[in-house]
């Protein structure tokens, strides 16, 4: 197993701006010519090639594409968890050199710390800031209220449903007040009903906090429900096929003809990228 130091150097310079109180500041993200080549035993594999797009302050952008188009690799590169072979990610103009608390990261499989209670999970990142204990507790309460889990604060993750676990993961990511929320198929492992509920809740959280969101999904309807813009990727190698603006008023209804048109348009683009 690799140690923390095996990764790219920690983005200590980038954490400075996230240290304040609940500023609810949003950030812009720019991907500049991102390429990723895996050199294993055999032929080198080009997973990503010249991926470039940007997300402006407070914008909600979804990333969709056929399986194997490198969505998750791109997600890890943006999060600073994987090094790109070429190009760079700029967060508010600063290159991302490693994981930073300026980004709140939410994974599909929740990855809650099973030995910590709900409140302790949410407070994990806060313990690594210079906030006082009282401030931290206050922030944890605030986050639990935001995701409607105040009642479960003392419970261990094992006793929670998938939807509740993902709410805890979102609260944990938001607790340190990042400028950007980065989500990798966060609702992919829950049932359809829970997913729609979580989508509505996420839009509420987005509206109330004004964070910038970059959201990876394979569910086109989900992308059209959530996003201001949808970045459609193509595979072999993973690249940007097209960026689609979603001009549908919120709250969006699936029955709306405009909704359906966007879904078909994105599906078409994904089909063409196979």
């Amino acid at each position: 197993m690799a140690g923390v130091n095996d990764g790219p150097p920690a983005g200590s310079d980038a954490t400075a701006s996230g240290g304040g109180a609940s500023s609810d500041a949003a950030a812009s993200v720019a991907l500049d010519g991102i390429g990723k080549t895996y050199r294993g035993g055999g032929e080198p594999v080009r997973a990503l090639d010249d991926v470039g797009f940007s997300v402006t302050d407070g914008e909600f952008v979804c990333l969709v594409g056929p399986s194997g188009c490198g969505k998750t690799t791109l997600f890890r590169v943006v999060a600073g968890l994987t090094d790109a072979t070429d190009g760079r990610v700029l967060l508010d103009g600063e290159p991302v050199t490693g994981p930073t608390t300026d980004m709140g990261v939410v994974f599909q499989a929740y990855h809650l710390f099973p030995w910590l209670t709900v409140a302790e999970n949410v407070g994990f990142g806060l313990e690594r800031t210079d906030r006082s204990t009282a401030e931290r507790e206050c922030r944890v309460d605030e986050m639990l209220e935001l995701v409607g889990l105040t009642e479960c604060r003392g419970a261990y993750p094992k006793s929670l449903s998938g939807g509740m676990k993902q709410r805890v993961a979102i609260a944990r990511a938001l607790a340190v007040d990042p400028d950007l929320l980065l989500m990798d198929e966060p609702f992919g492992a829950v049932d359809a009903q829970t997913r729609e509920m979580l989508q509505r809740e996420l839009l509420d959280v987005w509206a109330s906090t004004g964070k910038t969101v970059l959201f990876v999904t394979h569910d086109v309807a989900e992308a059209v429900t959530l996003a201001d813009r949808i970045v459609v990727m193509a595979a072999d190698p993973g690249r940007v096929r097209e960026v689609v603006d979603v001009d549908v008023d919120r709250p969006r209804e699936r029955a709306d003809p405009a909704f359906g048109r966007h879904v078909s348009r994105v599906r078409e683009l994904i089909g063409a990228g196979r």
Binding site: G3, S12, G80, V105, A173
Partner: protein
């Protein structure tokens, strides 16, 4: 090597078989029945055997009572505890620490792998010469033998547990501000590997009672020494009485540790 450790860790120590603390009365009743049947068979077989081949359970109980009344048993146990406690504490502590460190740090692991593989198959008993040379025929020498046994069990349990810690949890930690190895080990690796580490500690606690006999083979007084002496004098009843002391100590420690383990891992329930 790995498989051997694997089976050691998978074995449920005897305390579990008795269902203690679980309130499973049916299991307890059946256990009592099995034990009673064993005693009857033992007694019947012993009737046709000389006492130095197989003493009857009644003779063993008598020997146990005599030794206890004379104070010899408590004295011997007191001495053995003075080997068991420091040996177990030092061996467990060093074993867990080394297992976590080598399991976490690739460089340390690479550096020590050949040494570890050379030393691992050496049975603690084979180190008696070193125990005598380094510590003498005393409590420290006996504790050394026990510590060696505890070390390896805990080393491999901790090493494997740390190796199995999810990379994803470490990624999450990094995105939440974990920057140093120390922070990662303290706040993610140790708690995540605690179930595996505690299984190792528990196995080690039991193994150390077995090693009490080996550790006293070169003349340090204690329960193990009494077993060896009684056997040499063909006093099998006394030998069994002292073996029972080890079993009882093992059971006591195991039940107590299980309670600790359950509490420490309550998040898994």
């Amino acid at each position: 090597m790995a498989t051997e450790v694997g089976t050691e860790l998978d074995e449920e120590p005897a305390g579990v078989g008795l269902g203690l603390g679980l309130g499973d009365t049916r299991r307890l009743r059946r256990g009592a029945l099995g034990a009673a049947a064993f005693l009857v068979v033992w007694h019947v077989v012993s009737l046709g055997s000389p006492a130095y081949v197989l003493p009857s359970p009644v003779a063993v109980a008598g020997a146990f009572a005599n030794e206890l009344a004379a104070g010899d048993m408590t004295t011997a146990l007191g001495r053995s505890v003075r080997h068991w406690i420091p040996g177990t504490v030092v061996g467990t502590g060093l074993g867990v620490a080394a297992g976590v460190a080598f399991g976490w740090n690739r460089t340390l692991d690479d550096l020590t792998a050949p040494l570890v593989r050379t030393l691992r198959p050496v049975p603690p008993l084979a180190l008696i010469g070193f125990a005598i040379a380094w510590f003498g025929i005393n409590d420290a020498g006996a504790a050394f033998i026990i510590a060696v046994g505890a070390f390896w069990i805990n080393f491999y349990a901790a090493y494997g547990a740390v190796e199995g810690v999810s990379e994803d949890l470490l990624d999450v930690g990094r995105t939440l501000g974990v920057r140093s190895d120390l922070d990662a080990v303290r706040s993610i690796v140790l708690p995540a590997s605690m179930p595996g580490i505690l299984t190792g500690v528990r196995t080690g606690l039991g193994r150390c009672w077995m090693l009490v006999v080996a550790s006293e083979i070169f003349g340090v007084p204690g329960v193990g020494r009494e077993i060896i002496r009684a056997s040499n004098n063909l006093r099998v009843d006394r030998a069994i009485a002292y073996i029972l002391v080890l079993s009882l100590m093992f059971l006591l420690v195991d039940v107590a540790f299980r309670a600790v383990q359950r509490r420490a891992l309550s998040w898994r329930a």
